[in-house]
Symmetry: C2
């Protein structure tokens, strides 16, 4: 039984279904959707019912378990269904490496299975639940390491949502903030609204308010200004993939925040579980950047904000070069430059 | 008669009223509002029916003329009404210096007037119309100077709206682009959407599409990414006030774009009429930065995007330090660093 000790739950398994809070409709509506087949779950990942690199990994793992659970065939057919689910789920989002990492872990478990269908189903579900439970533990560990970098009384800027909603619970960047507060520090959080999907305005503000934090939303474009005015003491963000040289892919806008933090002499931290670090990708230039549908930019709710017929670009991620990253906060400790050497040493 | 040769008009005087296109409802609705008293006009400036430093200057000048026009008293009462209108209008927006400059020009004309009420009314309206007509000419001149800096085939990034809608017509930053196209160059324009008021998504996209330009809207936070990927050849923006040392106040987000342009080695130009240059303000640190209502951030149309009860910051402008500005494009020519010396030389 996974105990998240929070006022809401991001994702969980219940009676043969994957249940997820629908992040598209927060903060307006708090609804939980139940997914009983892989295709529905894959589409939920694509449409951002759930998002955030670690949470996507957990969802994909449950998706593989779900395919096995639903199988009415023999052992081989059940393993084939799990394999096929992995292929489908790996096509949902290209940037976050945790997705591929979680599917690979599920594949390795499947590979060791033989004749007993019930055993296959049980072992795959156990592995998904282990990935889920581990993610919570890893976030707690990231939080403990990161909390030491947070001065008492700090004003902390974050971009996007790297919180309980982006993970199995607790969060990576917000996990650092949660752990700092748990350790007795007082902090104020500034949340970039994070256009176009508004993860900051809608999700970070909602989860921090829900849990009693002091949170203020700002337009993305105000971050550089407030950094230059010395109103921010540190920046902490999550990441979808860290390359072997320490380049960081994260939600579009992160790179601009990092440039402004550097210009202001403010530390810029990136918090992530080790599964987000991809030593097989040499630099940020090799990380695929997802382009998402124009409608996320042209409309907010039902309101069209871009004139009909005008083109739109919607890159969902950007790459922050390693020289702008003060430190990586991982479950294996705080890692500082030079990243190529120091990441390899912890691998 | 002021002839703007465009498919829409930003502001004009008609039969004792100031008429303005309502920029709050573009691109959804193209409506023209008529203002017959100073208080209504002042509130229209405050609520951003009209915005953009040069356009606000023109509106304020017409507002002073309107006060005189509406006076039923003697010469002194008419001059007092004009004076009072200037005081009220100068309280509408603190950052753009053109507002104060235009009111001051009107005050100087009023100061030379004596006994004839009809003459006072006529002279003040003439001066407002002169400011209006001059602004068009200045934009044309800015455009001619700036067009030489635009390579054929360039992709140009702009932030906010420094277009026909922000001026008497033609535009400053967009005036440069319009003049480059008039000179036979092919260009593509990327428009930052410019949260929270969405001047880029709503206004720049609308006016450029209306006039047949190739325009693409991007989230503000995508600008740094696209600059880093070498997809942008130059940046041109407007400004609300340039300090004596060349520091530039402009729409929130401009500073971040300038940082990213510098990091990418892309020229960052600022286009403005000379009236925007404020030699009495030594540096950007002395420029007042307006904070606007939270609702601009919390809502888009009727849709609430920030949870109820969460705080918001909404600074409307930021300051780009002079070292990030490649050149100022003015009606007096292109001005390059060192700005303190080179601005003084053109004064």
């Amino acid at each position: 039984m996974i105990e998240e000790k929070k006022s809401f739950r991001t994702i969980f398994w219940r009676n043969g279904a994957v249940v997820m809070i629908d992040q598209r409709f927060l903060p307006r509506e708090e609804t939980y959707n139940e997914y009983r087949d892989v295709e529905g779950l894959a589409e939920a990942i694509e449409s951002m019912v759930i998002r955030g690199a670690p949470a996507i990994g957990v969802a994909a793992a449950y998706g593989v378990a779900l395919a096995a659970h639903n199988s009415t065939g023999d052992a081989q057919q059940t393993l084939d269904a799990a394999q096929e689910a992995g292929v489908r789920l790996s096509r949902t989002r290209p940037t976050a490496v945790n997705l591929f990492w979680a599917i690979e872990r599920m594949r390795k478990v499947a590979q060791t299975q033989r004749g007993d269908v019930a055993e296959i189903k049980r072992r795959l579900l156990e592995e998904a639940e282990r990935i889920h439970a581990e993610d919570l533990e890893l976030c707690r560990s990231i939080g403990r390491h990161g909390a030491e970098l947070v001065p008492d009384g700090a004003t902390i800027l974050t971009h996007c949502n790297a919180g309980a909603l982006a993970t199995a619970g607790w969060g990576t960047a917000l996990g650092v903030i949660r752990s700092a507060v748990e350790a007795g520090k007082k902090v104020r959080v500034l949340a970039d609204e994070t256009r176009p999907f508004l993860q900051g305005a809608r999700l970070t503000a909602w989860e921090l308010q829900r849990d009693g934090f002091d949170v203020t939303v700002i337009p993305d474009s105000a971050a550089a200004h407030l950094l230059s005015r010395k109103e921010i003491d540190l920046v902490v963000v999550g990441t979808d993939r860290v390359a072997a040289n320490g380049d960081v892919a994260n939600k579009i806008g992160t790179y601009g925040v990092a440039l402004a933090a550097k210009a202001a002499g403010v530390p810029f931290y990136v918090a992530a579980p080790w599964s987000t670090i991809d030593l097989e990708t040499p630099t940020g230039a090799q990380i695929p950047i997802e382009e998402r549908p124009a409608r996320e930019v042209t409309h907010v709710g039902a309101t069209r904000i871009v004139p009909e017929g005008v083109k739109v670009r919607n890159p969902a991620f950007d790459v922050t070069p390693n020289e702008l990253v003060t430190a990586l906060i991982t479950d294996r400790g705080v890692i500082r430059p030079p990243y190529t050497e120091n990441l390899r040493a912890k691998a």
